[in-house]
């Protein structure tokens, strides 16, 4: 087991290396002199020269990369041109907001996806199965941002029940925070609920046909016990793994959701950075997201190894 985990850890290194190279090379796509573009509105030659110095833009690419990654490894993600603040500070400010949103979204995703998947597997080829599948497909095909706009129209504009935008920290006012985040969390969780439902269904169907479930049934256990105790426990392992992966995808979905609901999180940070041509922030956010995603991926793999007795020995 430990060799397996160790091997996964070693594989991580080249992946993270290439991710960092890729994000570094994004800069090369900028048309014209990067120092000039990165300076943005600021056309002060001193500032431009400072950027050139800082990123070693007058030196060959490998040197530039080493200078950049060296800073990143020391926790220096560069500085926001627009906000005149270190990117790491901005990230530390915005990340908790998005994490709160993602956790709430995950509750929606699993809370809807898993029961729906079980129902459709147990009631395979019935009207239930059909309805659940249609709803899942609807969830997968509805663009997040449109669902968000429609919910705002219904619950904020028409009914006036929930605020259309804004954010309150749960440590400040818990219920106000819930009211502000419940719609975006639902929007974010909704699309993945469909994905989770499909996987739960497939895993359940497979498990239900296995020998031990048949044995459990043959022993005369009632189907409720068989489904919930014997089948579900085994079917859930791959679903939970997928859930960990989807958590990373939620971060990416948060971009538009936060934009629509004006929630000052990670997604809004990258969008604002894009509009302000604040390239260091864009790079920093992509790097952090990708690294989080990779680490979650690893944790999911380790969890899978730990949960699977055949891989444990």
């Amino acid at each position: 087991m430990f060799t397996l985990i160790a091997r996964r850890l070693i594989q991580l290194i080249p992946t993270i290396f290439f991710v960092s190279v890729m994000i570094f090379l994004l800069q090369q796509l900028l048309p014209g002199d990067p120092a000039l573009v990165m300076a943005g509105e600021e056309k002060d030659p001193a500032v431009i020269e400072q950027i050139r110095q800082r990123y070693r833009l007058d030196q060959p690419l490998p040197v530039q990369y080493l200078a950049w990654i060296g800073g990143v490894l020391r926790g220096d993600l560069g500085e926001s041109m627009r906000l005149a603040e270190p990117v790491s500070t901005l990230v530390a400010q915005k990340l908790p907001v998005t994490v709160q949103l993602a956790i709430m979204a995950m509750i929606f995703t699993l809370g809807i996806g898993i029961p729906a998947g079980i129902i459709s597997a147990v009631k395979k080829d019935t009207a239930w199965d059909y309805v659940v599948n249609v709803v899942a497909l609807w969830g997968i095909s509805t663009p997040n941002f449109w669902l968000g706009i429609m919910l705002i129209f219904l619950f904020s504009v028409q009914l006036g029940w929930l605020p259309a935008s804004g954010y309150v920290s749960p440590f400040e006012d818990f219920w106000a925070s819930m009211a502000a985040t419940i719609m975006p969390a639902f929007v974010l969780g909704n699309s993945f609920a469909g994905v989770i439902m499909r996987h739960t269904r497939a895993a359940m169907l497979q498990v239900m046909e296995s020998d031990y479930v048949r044995t459990a049934r043959a022993k005369g256990l009632d189907s409720r016990t068989v489904i919930l105790k014997h089948a579900l426990r085994n079917a859930l392992t791959p679903v939970i793994t997928l859930g960990a992966l989807e958590f990373g995808t939620l971060l990416s979905g948060a971009v538009l959701t936060e934009q629509i609901f004006s929630i000052p999180g990670f997604g809004k940070l990258i969008v604002d950075a894009v509009f302000n041509r604040d390239y260091a922030v864009v790079q920093g956010v992509v790097l952090i997201t990708a690294t989080t995603y990779i680490v979650l991926n690893l944790l999911a793999d380790i969890g899978y190894i730990l949960a699977n007795p055949r891989l444990r020995s």
């Binding site: 900028l30 663009p143 706009i149 129209f153 990416s252 979905g253 971009v255 990708a290």
Partner: protein, 294 residues
């Protein structure tokens, strides 16, 4: 193709049916996939014949017709500067469909050769290509596309390139996996033994085996690409105004939600229908092309 399959329909498996004909015969039995295909045909026609179908000029502003509710004159209403929403949606089909199809074409054109190369060459070439693929798959799809589009500069063309590059690793991985599993098959060994070049083997033996999966994955990725394009346009990184695109229409619509909700309803339905159709068609193709299915 259609004629033979109609004749063959009552029989079980006809011995000399081509794989394409068999897939089509199976696909035709799936009602949802056929409905999806019909919707996509209609959408394609809308895109191609947009000037004939649109009731108004999609960029013509009219200060006397600002934010009008749907009516006989303006079927889907008008927007904040009096442009006809129905006509803008019809023209928007062009941006959405071409973005979906072109970005996936870019992804396939780049991904399949790289996957063939990685699977075939092995060694450090494979290691390099695979690690880069891993790195790209490690970055969330939309964030990578947004970052690429941001650095390339906002335009529909750059959005397509950004989405295409972001979608490439999926096809690299798919092709590579297929090459690895087929490489050792007897008939490929035989082809090699009789002196066929690697390139020839790749094109005559390996590629045809990848085709079904490519078709399925390609169709499903078009759905993802269309959502991505709408998202980029929504953020102002795709189609630039005044040219119509569903994503940017939604962006403007959000500001007028309380007094002109129709501005938000119709572009959303258009995106939803298109994406749903590609997803349904992809699912149908997957079932129809599955060699294990009946």
């Amino acid at each position: 193709m259609a004629a033979t399959s109609t004749l063959a329909a009552p029989a079980a498996d006809v011995p000399h049916e081509s794989p394409g004909a068999r897939a089509w015969r199976r696909l035709k039995k799936r009602r949802t996939a056929m409905v999806a295909l019909a919707i996509l045909v209609v959408l394609t026609l809308l895109a191609v014949f947009a000037p004939l179908i649109a009731t108004h000029d999609p960029t013509q502003q009219s200060w006397r017709a600002v934010r009008q509710a749907p009516s006989w004159m303006h079927w889907f209403g008008t927007d904040e500067v009096g442009r006809d929403i129905f006509s803008r949606i019809v023209y928007g089909t062009r941006a959405s469909l071409s973005a979906g199809v072109i970005s996936v074409a870019i992804a396939i054109a780049a991904g399949v050769p790289l996957g063939l190369l990685a699977g075939y060459a092995g060694g450090w070439v494979d290691a390099l290509i695979s690690r880069i693929t891993d790195a790209m798959l490690a970055s969330p799809f939309l964030i990578l596309a947004i970052a690429l589009a941001a650095f390339l500069g906002p335009s529909l063309q750059n959005a397509m390139i950004a989405i295409g590059i972001t979608a490439t690793p999926v096809f690299v991985r798919l092709t590579r996996g297929q090459v690895l599993s087929i490489k050792m098959e007897d008939y490929v060994e035989a082809a090699r033994a009789v002196g066929n070049t690697k390139l020839r083997i790749a094109f005559t033996h390996i590629l045809p085996n990848v085709m079904p999966q490519l078709l399925v994955q390609g169709t499903l990725t078009i759905a993802t690409a269309i959502i991505a394009e709408a998202s980029l346009s929504f953020l102002g990184l795709g189609q630039q105004p005044p040219a119509p695109s569903w994503g940017s229409m939604l962006n403007v619509a959000q500001r007028f939600l309380s007094n002109a909700p129709w501005m938000a309803v119709f572009p959303g339905i258009a995106i939803f229908l298109t994406v749903l159709s590609f997803n349904l068609l992809g699912d149908g193709l997957r079932d129809a092309l599955d060699p294990k299915a009946k």
